[in-house]
Subunit: 345 residues, 2 copies
């Protein structure tokens, strides 16, 4: 694993300065899309936008020591994730992410090579997701390294998904599986990083999921476009938090069936080993960038249509929104209080 | 002056958490403009945008210990400036700022009252400038307090001003006066803050200018709309830097007449006292958020029209873009090399 800023990595960012770093990043950008009229290097970016579309805007920061640790993630992983968490927020609104601004705050002792690697990861996901880096800012940090990205997406009017559109009786679905990122991070913390330690394929998947979450951009866009879902949110702060947030914003309660929650096999393996309750740990753990959404039972047909287009991404019904305001987790036939979500702050 | 995070200021941000802080901010926001469809509190903001307009996007961060010091600026000043520096970038593109996202990174020991004051300043300028706070993010910082704002503005197609549109023979103009912010900051540093020390009205103006720069939003929008200017940029990194940047991007040289540079009277007073060359210090000093723009001589009529609408803001010709690539400062009839700009990094 890299140790950013170590002397072995060569020249430091201070030697290039802001101007030099921006020029270095500009040189490696792919050709801009036709609607990016002015890209990085001027006072601001200029974008034509999608005619008649709504704009979706989000910002989310990764702070060294809070959201990542270079012992557990490479600079390229961190760059990838900085874009992924924002793309995920846009997807959760039923929109398609298209543009990004990247604000970098770099310690003086940061190597230029580290910035190159951060950009490797950021631009890898940008290319995969057809998101253009439109601009940003670079400045010095007296402490942690920080990546603060802003992502702009588009959606057609009336096709946007908020948290608050759910109704009592709507079924709650979650994409993929949960708990993998939390298990992966716990594994890395327990072992002081990855090194050459042996691990199962399932645990290895958890670590990869923690480092490089896949924003569910296609699912989000389809749910919005087809209006198959009534409400949607991503699992950045865990499933329990997302269920509570959608229910609260929708003015409903929620009832989740623990036996239906798709816990990642690697998370089951890890939490069984640590003696934690796997379902509890998986629904409370943050950093899963799956989508939770509500859909009216009569939308089942549309949802099947969406599922067919997902290329193997599972979508699992795990419960429903209810007419009261209770947040319930049903386990072995017994109703318990749904735990609170992961608290970042 | 406040000392953020001091026990006297009451409860800390950790007690409220991210959710609580967002709710606290939401409650004090004015009614959103009609085109802000989803404001703070969901995964992302949703905006209708201006029909047929180009979007202008910029981001700029203020980092404690790099860009501000709570001994010299109150939290409200810092909040005000975090929006001002971004609005200035949008104005420099000939556009009108309309929406902001605010990403806050707060040390655990930060008082809730400090966040309230940061928002006081941010929202004061937002209200003055009719910019809506559309969303953002709040997270913990292991070190410095950081405000990273993104501002979105609009401009009509073909009315955008870049740095690169200047031509040889265009006259260079600067708005207002320069050097005030640098002088104000030097004064504060020399005196360890403001306290109750006596100072002249001119120096007091410099301190105010450093703490709360006025983005030249009206001038920028008018220059874009009327196409009076060929190129434009703000003076965040000083006049010398801006002249170099416009000339380089336009593929020209530049010649500035030192005797014409409108140095702020307080800056003259301060730099005369410290023995620094006032013109040199004023054109190298950063943090003046005036606009530098180029205009073809035949646009003089339009420019007079713009000037009449500026309510007293001076616009001063200080030199011109030239056919070679030399960057020249003429002093007492002698041509010297234009100094380099202020280096933030």
């Amino acid at each position: 694993m890299n140790t950013p800023g170590s002397p072995a990595e060569g020249p430091l960012v201070g030697e290039l300065g802001e101007r030099g770093l921006i020029e270095r990043i500009r040189r490696r950008l792919p050709a801009p899309p036709p609607d990016l009229i002015v890209g990085p290097g001027d006072d601001a970016a200029v974008v034509a936008g999608e005619r008649g579309a709504l704009q979706i805007l989000t910002t989310d920061a990764l702070v060294e020591g809070i959201h990542f640790d270079f012992r557990f993630s490479s600079p390229a992983d961190v760059g990838y994730k900085a874009l992924a968490v924002n793309a995920s927020d846009v997807a959760a609104m039923g929109a398609t992410p298209r543009l990004a601004l990247l604000s970098l705050m770099l310690p003086g002792g940061c190597a230029i090579a580290t910035v190159d690697r951060l950009l490797d990861g950021f631009l890898e996901l940008a290319l995969e997701s057809r998101i253009a880096l439109a601009g940003g800012n670079i400045t010095r940090s007296p402490g942690p390294l920080i990546l603060d990205a802003t992502v702009v997406g588009y959606a057609r009017p009336r096709k946007v998904l908020t948290r608050g559109g759910g109704r009592s009786g709507d079924v709650l679905y979650v994409s993929g599986s949960v708990g993998a990122a939390a298990a992966g991070l716990q594994w890395l913390r327990a072992h002081g990083g990855e090194g050459d330690l042996p691990m199962s394929a399932a645990v290895s998947e958890c670590i990869a999921r923690y480092r490089r979450p896949s924003p569910r951009a296609r699912l989000g866009a389809l749910l919005g476009r087809t209006r198959a879902a009534s409400a949607c949110m991503d699992l950045s702060d865990g499933l329990a938090d997302a269920v509570r947030s959608i229910a609260e914003a929708s003015g409903t309660g929620a009832r989740i069936d623990a036996s239906k929650v798709p816990v990642h096999p690697g998370a089951c393996e890890w939490f069984n080993r640590t003696g934690e309750d796997a379902v509890h740990a998986a629904i409370q753990g943050g950093d899963d960038y799956e989508l939770l959404f509500a859909a009216a039972p009569r939308r089942k047909g549309r949802l099947r249509g969406v599922s067919r287009l997902l290329r193997g991404l599972a979508v699992t019904p795990i419960g429903e929104l209810t007419g009261d305001t209770a947040m319930v987790l049903v386990r072995d036939g017994e109703a318990t209080e749904l735990p609170a979500g992961f608290r970042h702050f």
